[in-house]
């Protein structure tokens, strides 16, 4: 079979990749630099609820938190709220007077095990409901069967539907089996028109890690080098501590630099991270270590 894509994905050495990320983790971020990082991280959060038991009330609460993460500290709002398609309208209403985006998962999330027709319908519905951003999943089964063109075409088709709506492509890296596959899937998504590439659905235990995110950031960097297009990155799942989020920011800073250190190019898919960032910010302000009792769980 001829390669339908104009790229060759380089091999990835796992051990070397991990060693690189360990260097990010040893960066010492202190004082003003830390405050700045905590706020930046907060502004990059896609505050997420993706449960079968999501209700109007739950989504409204989440939106309230998104708009006003803390009752008196001067902190930025999060970047977006991420929900299932049938909650888009609720979220959109709740966030109507803010700049916070509403992201919707789609394409038979989380497994993607449906027909392209159904997936397209899913996306169309979410957009009609008012979604600003679509988080689609790739067909991992097809990918692992070697049907890379199928995966490519599917993403391209969804992107066509999205038009101006930002498209995040979830690779579900925990199901791809190897870093070489993650790199290949990243390249496919990038070339097929993704606006963001995203690690995980959050629905399986293996979610975002720094090595996986670095692997994807490097794919983004190569793609930028080749096309001049700056594609975003969204690690999702498993990032719940401020300290880890700061390590991610170090990684973004030292891999892609200034143009990616903002929420139009980098997002954290997380629900618990916001409160830990707030606790650390409060600690920086007061000098006291904080208790979660003083931060609202929404």
């Amino acid at each position: 079979m001829t390669n339908p894509f104009d790229f060759v994905s380089p091999p990835i050495d796992q051990i070397g990749l991990i060693e690189r990320t360990q260097k990010f983790s040893t960066r010492s971020i202190k004082n003003d630099s830390k405050v700045q990082a905590l706020k930046l991280a907060l502004s990059m959060i896609d505050l997420t609820t993706l449960e079968g038991k999501d209700t109007i009330g739950k989504v409204q609460q989440l939106c309230a938190k998104a708009k006003k993460p803390h009752d008196f500290m001067d902190v930025p709002t999060v970047a977006a709220v991420c929900v299932y398609p049938n909650m888009v309208r609720v979220a959109k209403q709740a966030l109507s007077k803010s700049n916070i985006k509403v992201a919707s998962v789609a394409t038979a999330f989380p497994s993607g095990m449906s027909s392209l027709k159904v997936k397209k319908e899913d996306v169309r519905y979410a957009i009609e409901e008012g979604a600003d951003e679509i988080d689609m999943v790739i067909s991992r089964g097809k990918f692992l069967q070697g049907e890379y063109s199928y995966v490519f075409e599917e993403i391209a088709t969804i992107k066509e539907l999205c038009k101006e709506v930002s498209l995040k492509v979830i690779l579900e890296t925990g199901e791809l089996g190897s870093l070489d596959n993650i790199r290949l899937a990243s390249d496919i998504a990038l070339h097929a028109g993704a606006d963001f590439i995203k690690t995980s659905t959050g629905k399986i235990s293996s979610a975002a890690t720094m090595p996986i995110t670095l692997c994807m950031l490097e794919a983004i960097r190569d793609y930028y080098k080749k096309t001049g297009l700056k594609i975003g990155m969204k690690p999702a799942g498993g990032i719940s501590e401020a300290k880890l989020a700061i390590h991610y920011l170090v990684m973004v800073k030292e891999t892609l630099g200034q143009d990616w250190l903002n929420n139009s190019k980098f997002r954290f898919g997380a629900s618990r991270l916001a409160n830990d960032l707030l606790m650390q910010l409060r600690k920086q302000e007061t000098g006291f270590y904080q208790s979660s009792n003083y931060f609202s769980n929404d």
Binding site: F7, V8, P10, P11, I12, D13, I15, G16, L17, E19, R20, T26, R27, S28, I29, K30, N31, D32, S33, K34, Q36, A37, L40, E218, R221, Y224, K225, K226, G228, L249, K253, E254, L256, G257, Q258, D259, L261
Partner: protein, 489 residues
Amino acid sequence: MSKTNSFSLHFETDWKYADAPESRDHIDLKEQYELFINGQFQKCSSAKYFDSINPANETFLAKIAEANREDIDQAVKSAKSALAQWQKLQAKERAKYIFRIARLIQERAREFSVIETLDGGKPIKESRDIDIPLAAAHFFYYAGWADKLEYAFPGKSVKPIGVVAQIIPWNFPLLMAAWKIAPAIACGNTVVLKPAETTSLTALKLAELIQDAGLPPGVVNIVTGAGETGAELVNHPDIDKIAFTGSTEVGKLIQKSVAGRNVKTTLELGGKAANIIFKDAPIEQAVEGIINGIFFNQGHVCCAGSRLFIEESIEKEVLEKLKWRLETLSVGDPMDKNTDIGAINSKQQLDTIKKYIKIAKEEGLKGFESNQSIPKKGFYCKPTIFTGVSQSSRLAQEEIFGPVLVVQTFRTIDEVIEKANNTPYGLSAGVWTDKGSKAFNLSSRLKAGVVWANTFNKFDPTSPFGGFKESGFGREGGLQGLDAYLKMD
């Protein structure tokens, strides 16, 4: 694929790292250090002292005694008289002393890291994460050998050699002391060790720690001074073995001075390692490996990957990625926890490096360096890369021992092997390819004592280290490292 264009990345970001200086409050440094002979610190007979300074800011750290012939004689005699007792001790008891030293280093790791960085200029994160933990690991590893030596060399019965003279360089002061002392005393020898004159402090702190460990007096003696002190030690008639790590030039002098004498010698000398990257390599990891290979410890590494060979078809891509990476290497105060490249060890070494950079300019070599600013006071050199270097350039042939990388390209495997081996040195080499059969081909054809495939500058107590050709002979580390410290029948 590797076409490049003007799309640029900006690593100078709005979000900056604040200073993160390591505290030096918890360290205990004396104003003046004496010689460690026969378990005691004693004044040198010359009454001469030299200053140890912090290369990061040229401030005074401590006065260090300069040992002369008389002092060396005392130290060797002390080692000689300690031999009998040390060898009589049951091997398992000998082991326990060495285990103690390992533990004590771990307990005081932070203090040792800070002193290592103050005295030598290496980044605190390297002293903290590499030098000091590896030094402790070496003592642990060889401690365990002390009572198992009979299993190391099948068919042979082994005995200690006697008094061992050891001379170490300034690039990894405590780690080199550990590489030398641990196997020597584990095998039942006694030691006179001379650290480099610019970096004596951690060896002298080790002497304090050896006192704390209760090691019998005279088993380890530490004498300080420069080249003359070293020559006195090497020429002493009562030494049975010399272990030297340092330049090839001095190594040859030592080899000459033992000519005709029955003094067992091991030499770990200079290098000019080839680091070879093929187009099928894991490129990003290779770039990181190239950076680590040459800029680790300011390039003050005998096995540094100082000659980079890039397969021609990926030259542009690799160079561009190296440039990016250079911009995120922070050069500056070694005590800052975020510093990647610290201070050059001494004024003298900085001058040597500058001399080569000047030669490069005279030869018309093109290159690039990091755009970051470097401190005004102290000895610093920006990480520098020269491209399109020919095999005949002095920069491709001579060991620079600084953060200077020379880049050459190649087209075929045979060509690169020939170029890589076309040097009097043979300490280490690096190969980057995703293809296993190619990696094995290279690793067997490169004339080097250590070959790193898809990694670089890795060290471990269990892994033998040492060179081919003019990079010296003998191995340190692993079972093979015992060979140097035993007589066999």
